[in-house]
Point group: C2
Chain length 386, copies 2
């Protein structure tokens, strides 16, 4: 499905000797064997020392390779990049020498020189499984377009603005923010410096693009599914102030209303964590005269908390209560969980995000791409009881 990037022409375990890893595919065999023999013959110092030596004062540069090969740096550059302009013989020789010397192209200099850095910045949240899925696909999607993804994490002790600043200094060509919580003013400041793309969040700021699932539709899929199973009393544990939560809340209420179930709809303040879901579910079980027969959680993490509480209370899922998550992240797919959830299609979203970002870089007008989510029926939903 994604191929092409992870296992390169080499054997997949070797580290780059030279080149960007995706350009050359010429002569890795000769190259590798040359390396091994060189390895033995070059060793006049024990491995411990060798390591220290290589690291001591700067790593070998193109000039070192050129000198060793008795040619110009320009020619070395040609060989390393794998572009035409060098004879087959020279090419082989340079590659061998580069390997012997342990030369690795300096990305800082490459990026500085190349007009475009070919780098996309990605800001994500460290502990959100769905973000993990997205990041993984973003790496692949970027690589497919010849771009590199550099990631910068947000965590309780690392503010989003800190993460963004790191990317800004990195001189990436665009920023892709996953589920960003930046204010409109902050986004305005940012987009003035860098093409900016929001993922899984609606953009209120002109100039800022957005790729997101249709949250209203997504929640309605869940509502329709549950109503179709005979459920009437359905609760929604929402995402508090998180991006997308108001859409989902609205979609839920509208969906219920359209089914004539406005009175049976219940919305609880939740959050993005397991604990928020657990708290919400506990409240529903303990404080309500008649608990709902189905719960739609803001996301899979929240739903996991809901499921935990139900399991501990001995409530059968889906026998007594059905549960629907959102995102179709790793959590929902786990074999012992099998959560019914609304899929945001991480791979498709990543593709769309990279495409949109590249369009922004090329000067395209910022657009809002809305993907249609899809319901994934698994084992946590079933017919309403009695």
């Amino acid at each position: 499905m994604l191929g092409a990037q992870a296992v390169g022409p080499a054997d997949g375990t070797a580290f780059d000797q030279a080149g960007s890893g995706d350009v050359r595919e010429l002569d890795d065999d000769a190259h590798d064997s040359a390396h091994d023999s060189a390895h033995d013959s070059a060793g006049q110092s024990p491995p411990g020392r060798a390591a220290a030596d290589a690291t001591r004062k700067g790593r070998p540069t193109m000039a070192d390779v050129a000198r060793a090969a008795g040619i110009s740096t320009a020619l070395v550059s040609i060989v390393i990049r794998g572009v035409p302009g060098a004879s087959e013989e020279t090419r082989r020789r340079v590659l061998r020498i580069a390997d012997e010397l342990g030369y690795v192209p300096d990305q800082r200099a490459q990026k500085l020189r190349r007009s475009s850095s070919r780098v996309l910045g990605v800001v994500f949240e460290l502990q959100q499984p769905f973000h993990g899925d997205l990041v993984e696909h973003l790496y692949a999607a970027a690589a497919r377009h010849g771009y590199e993804a550099v990631i910068s994490a947000v965590a309780p002790s690392r503010a989003e603005s800190t993460a963004v600043n790191a990317l800004l200094r990195e001189r990436c060509e665009a920023a892709i923010l996953l589920g960003s919580r930046l204010s409109d003013e902050e986004l305005e400041r940012l987009v003035r410096r860098l093409p900016t793309l929001l993922v899984a969040r609606r953009s209120g700021v002109p100039g800022v693009g957005s790729v997101r699932g249709d949250d209203m539709v997504g929640i309605r899929l869940a509502v329709d599914h549950l109503v179709g199973l005979g459920h009437r009393r359905i609760a929604h544990i929402d995402g508090a102030g998180a991006p997308g939560s108001s859409d989902r809340r609205l979609g839920f209420l509208q969906g219920m209303t359209d089914h004539g179930l406005a009175d049976c709809a219940d919305v609880l303040a939740g959050g993005l964590t397991e604990e928020a879901g657990a708290e919400g579910m506990r409240y529903l079980l303990d404080r309500q005269v008649e608990p709902p027969t189905a719960v739609i959680a803001f996301n899979d993490r929240t739903a996991t908390g809901v499921l935990d509480v139900l399991a501990h209370r001995g409530r059968a899922v889906p026998g007594e209560i059905s549960v629907v998550g959102y995102d179709d992240s790793r959590l929902a797919k786990m074999p012992h969980v099998q959560m019914t959830t609304v899929s945001q299609d991480a791979a498709g979203m990543a593709d769309a995000a990279v495409a949109a970002a590249l369009d922004l870089i090329k000067g395209g007008t910022p657009r809002e791409t809305v993907l249609t989510p899809r319901l994934v029926e698994r084992a946590t939903t079933g017919p309403a009881p009695h």
Copy 2:
């Protein structure tokens, strides 16, 4: 506990105008006030256009600032870096102009120029909560030493060698690998190019440092704890081939033997995922004549799978079965889980890792730092039944 980096001298919401954010601390007040006023007065074009303009052909450079201020780039450099050598008046003026122009120092050029890039590379696994914890603390620890952490993720579709290559090209000064699965040969190749530090894994390769918890001791803490609570039949669901798993397996068996319970010890092949734990627990419940009264899982994720199965089967925890995890990651701390676990102290480990990496960079001899883990008693362990 970590301070100093997340909430900087600025208001925490603004993006960097200039400076590396951690070197200067001289005149941030003047800087900021100048900044605000500049912000209002500079707007002669609408935000939409401004964005396009700023991005069109390269961002402003030091030379642009220098030209606008009628001074040399060298002086601008002095001001931006906050080093002595410019008058207070010039300093203020340059800072204001830099802000107006939206100047952000180019990290590529900075790193290229500075002999040391002041960057630590970190390779982590996207979907491991404990890695998430470590990364968060590594950011902070690196910042405390004036270093920047750049992270590169490993995922099912992104091999560890790919992640490492990305860092190699980034020219970081050292690589910190979390729970690496690289083979000894691969590590040997790597350490020849870059000081390398393993976290949460024993290093078998000379030249490669390591910071890890004492896994034998950690598991014995768990065993002692459970035996002290009267448990005799204890199972260990291990980490299959994961780093540390053989130590933990050994520690478990040795601990049980020392308590004269060698016959009651049971080791199951597990893994690092919830599913591995669930499968192991299901096996213990279904296939064994007398299931154990306590389970020690390889890590918190594995333990989570165990707990899920127990909850679904209606087995009381810790009433019937006690469960111990490992890592004290986010999963163990969740209020509705309250898992008893062996803490690896992510913060301490991150500190030690950064310190060790910096030592390696300075040419120190690679060492193995072993931290003593600590048992965190929470709600998933209790006295053995009857």
